[in-house]
């Protein structure tokens, strides 16, 4: 009996596996998820929207009413057009698709301050939802182009985690922006890299750059990947046989032609009209402050927080004054000026200055970011494979997010998107991923300060975390040698950090509840933001450290199998 069982047992298991594979053909569709999230997006569309809504409405008006040469010179409204040309073309298309009722509603009025009704709101919300289809298509393509049962399953979990991202819900569908669509293009680029269509990588990335120049953060990685993976013959190069054959001329010309063509289509008309200098001034406004209206959770948030703490110590403990004075060599007369103090403790809107710690120059932030980006590129130069490429994309995004000049917390999506394509590769990357998404998404919460959306944003982020914490765990590859005690305690630390996030969320929400009642809480308004961004900053920096460790030290994750 037992023997017979042994003989027959492989068969049913084989057939069930077959069943699963047959099953898989139809079931890895993102369509149902799209429909269900569509309902949620529709329901939140009538809620809070930020000034970005008015910004984009004004862009619709500019592109609808003005000739192309005036797009980047118009100053009717303070919300001037400051995205690259493709985005302007995109707005032009949207403005011409607007139905008559929407136009009558005031959607396309070129005025200083727009006056419009719900129809305009619905139309613009609709354009966000409709353009986000690009993301779904890109990820569906990513899933469909995966081969094999496990790969497909992994790809599906990754795709779901990205389309359901609370970041996109908060930023795109409540706060109002078009990130879903743009990140769709990024996914096109990444999947082309996976399929080794280098030319298409170049094409999609230049398109992306012409839509939104924030993707310049990723440019070094793409450049090096294409240079060493496509334009140069690395085998000859590393063998030391330097000759003209090191350069693959045909590839290089193809790529150069593609990229130049895309940029010509984008910027050509503006060069023709001679408005390039205004355009560039709009795209790169170096006059803005180091930390934005809210504090992105990066190095500078922690730096500012330390500065604030030092300031308090300086005032409370007289002994410390001379010590601070000795170390940092600042001008104490600044501290006596009430006005500067007020502006710095307010910290909400406007540029925050440092009072005790030394001032940070834009050049310094630039060099720091560049240094860490170059560090990330070195392994890519030696090994221009897909995984290395995505890893270096992630690290480039990390470096510019953590050290960059005038970083917005929304830029965290730039890190989360590429890293998502890597986590399913190895269980060890999951720690870093969990830290990043929990602190990154949490840092987006202050964007929506209205109480009505509180439950939606918090519950949606929590739901997302619950679903994908377990699902990633189920599908990721378990490495042969998994770290022992060290890794275990790291995991525990991460979990307690995430619990800490919940506590901080609770505390700051309670502070919010009582601001109207207690005057001292109103004074501490900035403290809330400091707490959130500092704590989240710690999380993002730690996740960066863990990720870098595996990027540089663990060879097995990055090689092709």
């Amino acid at each position: 009996m037992a023997k017979k069982d042994q003989v027959t047992s492989p068969r049913p298991s084989a057939s069930t596996q077959e069943n699963e594979e047959v099953d898989s053909e139809g079931s890895y569709s993102l369509f149902n998820i799209w429909v269900i999230t569509l309902v949620l997006k529709l329901l939140v569309s009538i809620g809070y929207r930020s000034t970005d809504f008015e910004v984009h409405r004004n862009w619709l008006a500019i592109t609808y009413h003005l000739p192309l040469k005036q797009w980047y010179t118009d100053t009717t409204s303070e919300w001037t057009l400051d995205y690259p040309p493709f985005f302007a073309y995109f707005e032009w298309v949207l403005s011409h698709l607007a139905p008559r009722h929407v136009i009558e509603d005031g959607c396309l009025d070129l005025v200083e301050k727009g006056e419009y009704g719900m129809l305009t709101v619905f139309y613009q919300r609709f354009t966000v939802i409709a353009s986000e289809v690009v993301l779904f298509l890109a990820l569906q393509w990513y899933v469909n182009s995966s081969r094999g049962y496990t790969d497909k399953k992994r790809a599906f979990v990754v795709a779901c985690s990205l389309v359901l991202s609370p970041g996109l819900l908060i930023i795109d569908h409540i706060h109002f922006q078009y990130n879903g669509f743009l990140f769709g293009l990024l996914v096109f680029m990444i999947n082309n890299a996976r399929l080794e269509n280098h030319l298409m990588v170049g094409f999609w990335f230049s398109v992306l750059l012409c839509f939104k120049h924030i993707f310049l953060y990723l440019a070094p990685a793409v450049f090096v990947y294409l240079l060493f993976g496509y334009c140069l013959n690395t085998e000859l190069l590393y063998a030391g046989k330097i000759s003209h054959r090191v350069v693959r001329w045909k590839n290089s010309f193809k790529l150069a032609f593609t990229v130049i063509a895309v940029f010509t289509v984008a910027f050509g008309p503006f060069v023709w009209y001679g408005v390039m200098s205004q355009l560039l001034a709009r795209l790169f406004p170096f006059s803005r402050g180091l930390t934005h209206a809210y504090w992105a959770p990066n190095i500078w948030a922690i730096y500012s927080a330390v500065d604030r703490v030092c300031l308090q110590i300086y005032f409370r403990i007289p002994v410390s004054r001379s010590i601070f004075q000795y170390i940092f060599q600042f001008d104490p007369s600044n501290l006596l000026n009430k006005e500067t103090l007020k502006s710095s403790t307010r910290g909400l809107v406007g540029d925050s200055e440092y009072l005790i710690l030394p001032e940070i120059k834009p050049q310094l932030t630039f060099f720091l970011a560049l240094f860490y980006q170059i560090m990330a590129l070195i392994p890519l130069i030696l090994q221009p494979t897909f995984r290395r490429f995505v890893g270096s994309l992630t690290l480039c995004a990390y470096a510019s997010f953590l050290f960059g000049w005038h970083v917005h917390e929304k830029a965290i999506l730039l890190v989360i998107f590429p890293i998502s394509f890597l986590v399913s590769r190895d269980l060890e990357l999951l720690d870093s991923f969990n830290l990043l998404v929990s602190s990154g998404y949490m840092s987006l919460f202050p964007l929506l300060f209205t109480c009505e959306e509180w439950l939606v944003k918090v519950m949606f982020a929590f739901l997302w975390y619950v679903i994908f914490y377990f699902n990633f765990r189920k599908v990721t590859r378990i490495p042969k040698s998994i770290g022992g005690q060290g890794r275990l305690s790291l995991g525990r630390m991460i979990n307690s950090y995430i619990l800490g996030l919940a506590t901080i969320l609770l505390c700051t929400s309670i502070m919010d509840l009582y601001t109207h009642k207690f005057a001292f809480l109103r004074k501490l308004e900035f403290l809330k933001l400091v707490i959130i961004s500092t704590y989240c900053g710690v999380g993002v920096i730690s996740s960066w450290n863990i990720f870098s460790w595996y990027y540089f030290m663990n060879e097995s994750i990055w090689s092709n199998d």
Partner: protein, 573 residues
């Protein structure tokens, strides 16, 4: 067994040997032993496609978390909608009523609650609602005292107040209704052999039905507490805890008098449980012995429970006030008068019940006095109620499948169908019906999806759609339009009604031509009414014409559904 879903799978996929075997077994008509799990009809729904990924987890606790979190998100998102009477000074709507009750309960001594300024949203719900308001009012005052400041807060409208009220409504539902649904599905699911996963699917279908979401979180009320308490009561009957069942039921009635719609049947059912079934009598079976087996001790216990629960609920009114018989009786009488305001009239606005619909032909308000009409509706309601109640009592006493030895789930099914029939009869024929009252008969009707029957579920989903449709005039007035469309779309999408393949949707029952015709034509009529409502103004002679079309169609569907469930109850063995 032998549902079309499994056959389709087999024909599509001959490679699936295992399933093929199962279905060939069922074709031969082999009786399915009750211990094996019945194949689920919900396997082809979109809902299953989503939850499938979490099926392997032990106990499916993940899926349950996801279900509850999604329910909260959906409710919070619907809550962004305007509430009833938003911006309509000076009287506002139900939202202001609820807020006003919180205000008055925290500021007045308890014996004044039911007397205070009756013209401006005087308290007219039973004591538990008052206590609930008191609690939420106190809690809200901790956050912001001006939300519920005495008199000066009347008609107050602010975003944070709205948010607070919305969150209390979500919290109430989360504490009472959702656990009640999950508990019910768990207990009842065991009786009808549903797998763990199917239990979650069924709970999801029940929790996502739009009517309750739209009324509680759009229009703004706390119906979920009343419905949840009733559901706990129902679950306790199935478990056999009759005392707890009685307590829960009294709580439900004391939260909202509408729960009395369930009273006749719960009385009839519990009463018949006091007798022994004919087949449970060991020797010398006879009708007399059945009647003789009446358990008077149990009756006494139940009676005492009901009385004591009511006393405990009313106790605060007695304790916190002057100790004089006259005063106390005065207060209690006032509560009774406020809770049952017979002077208000036969119906409010336009309701899809018998009186409102026939009112088109026979003008009741002109022909009869209020008292006569009340008597008329009372007699009609009681007369129609006698039929299902006595039928169930007869079956409980004299049918073999209702005896304790029987392993069939006939008793539980009778419970569901019985509540469905009687509460619909109440809705259709009773006095003082409001369009929101449809939630009461809708709950037991929705619970029928647990029977896992591909012939029943489409009809239940149909009546849910019709009930939501019947709320349209109310929701339109309050501009909860987007939410109406979105939630209605969502639930039908989830059960697969938009699927083109006929095997994977619950649009129509597969076998009955009658229902196919009825359901399809109803949906077409609904779409037409929505179309004319959106595109044309009603003729000036009949300004309510579109609303009347709506209520008439709904009335027809409700009566048909009521008749169908009566028939199901009749043929139940």
């Amino acid at each position: 067994m032998g549902n079309p879903g499994s056959k389709k799978n087999v024909s599509k996929n001959s490679r699936q040997h295992k399933q093929g075997k199962v279905s060939s077994g069922s074709k031969r008509g082999r009786p399915v032993p009750s211990s094996t799990k019945k194949e689920s009809v919900y396997k082809s729904t979109v809902l299953y496609g989503i939850f499938k990924n979490f099926e392997r987890a032990p106990d499916q606790w993940e899926a349950r978390y996801i279900l509850i979190l999604t329910a909260i998100i959906l409710r919070a998102a619907v809550g962004l909608a305007p509430y009833s009477g938003m911006g309509e000074k000076p009287i506002n709507g139900d939202f202001e009523a609820q807020r006003h009750w919180m205000e008055l309960t925290i500021h007045l001594p308890i014996d004044k609650w039911y007397f205070y300024d009756l013209q401006y949203w005087g308290l007219d719900y039973p004591p538990l609602t008052a206590f609930h308001s008191y609690l939420l009012g106190k809690l809200g005052s901790l956050i912001r005292s001006d939300w519920f400041a005495f008199v000066s807060s009347r008609g107050l409208e602010s975003v944070d107040l709205k948010t607070y009220m919305r969150y209390t409504s979500i919290l109430s539902e989360l504490i009472v209704f959702i656990p009640a649904v999950i508990d019910f599905v768990n207990i009842m699911g065991k009786k009808v052999n549903l797998s763990r996963m199917d239990q979650i699917l069924v709970s999801a279908i029940i929790i996502t039905q739009p009517s309750l979401i739209l009324i509680d979180h759009g229009h703004f009320q706390y119906n979920s507490v009343m419905l949840g308490s009733f559901l706990f009561s129902l679950t306790d009957i199935i478990k056999g805890n009759y005392i707890f069942s009685a307590i829960w039921f009294i709580c439900s009635v004391n939260f909202k008098q509408m729960a009395l719609y369930y009273a006749p049947f719960i009385f009839a059912y519990l009463f018949s449980l006091l007798f022994k079934n004919y087949y449970d009598i060991k020797s010398g079976r006879s009708v007399w012995k059945v009647l003789w087996s009446f358990d008077i001790k149990k009756l006494f216990l139940l009676g005492i429970t009901v009385i004591i629960t009511n006393l405990i609920i009313l106790l605060p009114f007695v304790i916190f006030g002057p100790y004089s018989i006259k005063h106390i009786s005065n207060v209690l009488l006032q509560i009774l008068k406020r809770v049952f305001p017979f002077e208000r009239g036969l119906f409010e606005d336009k309701v899809a019940n018998f009186w409102c619909t026939t009112n088109i032909v026979v003008k009741y308000k002109e022909k009869f006095t209020v008292e006569q009409v009340a008597r008329l509706s009372l007699v009609t309601t009681l007369a129609t109620l006698i039929v299902p109640c006595s039928l169930v009592m007869y079956k409980m006493l004299f049918k073999r499948s209702f005896s304790t030895q029987s392993i069939s789930s006939a008793k539980e099914k009778a419970l569901l169908y019985g509540f469905t029939v009687t509460s619909w009869l109440f809705y259709l024929f009773s006095f003082l019906v409001h369009e929101k009252t449809v939630l009461v008969p809708l709950l037991p009707s929705t619970l029928l999806v647990i029977l896992n029957d591909s012939e029943v579920t489409p009809i239940v989903q149909w009546i849910n759609n019709v009930a939501t449709f019947s709320l349209w005039p109310l929701l339109k007035k309050e501009s909860i339009i987007l939410q109406y469309v979105a939630t209605l779309f969502l639930i039908n999408w989830l059960v697969g009604n938009f699927s083109v393949k006929s095997t994977t949707n619950f649009l129509v029952p597969k076998r009955s031509l009658f229902w196919k015709v009825i359901i399809i034509s109803t949906y077409i009529a609904m779409l037409l009414i929505h179309f004319v409502d959106a595109c044309y103004a009603p003729p000036s002679k009949y300004p309510d014409l579109w609303v009347l079309l709506n209520t008439t169609l709904s009335f027809g569907c409700f009566s048909l559904f009521c008749a169908w469930s009566m028939y199901k109850l009749y043929v139940l063995t």
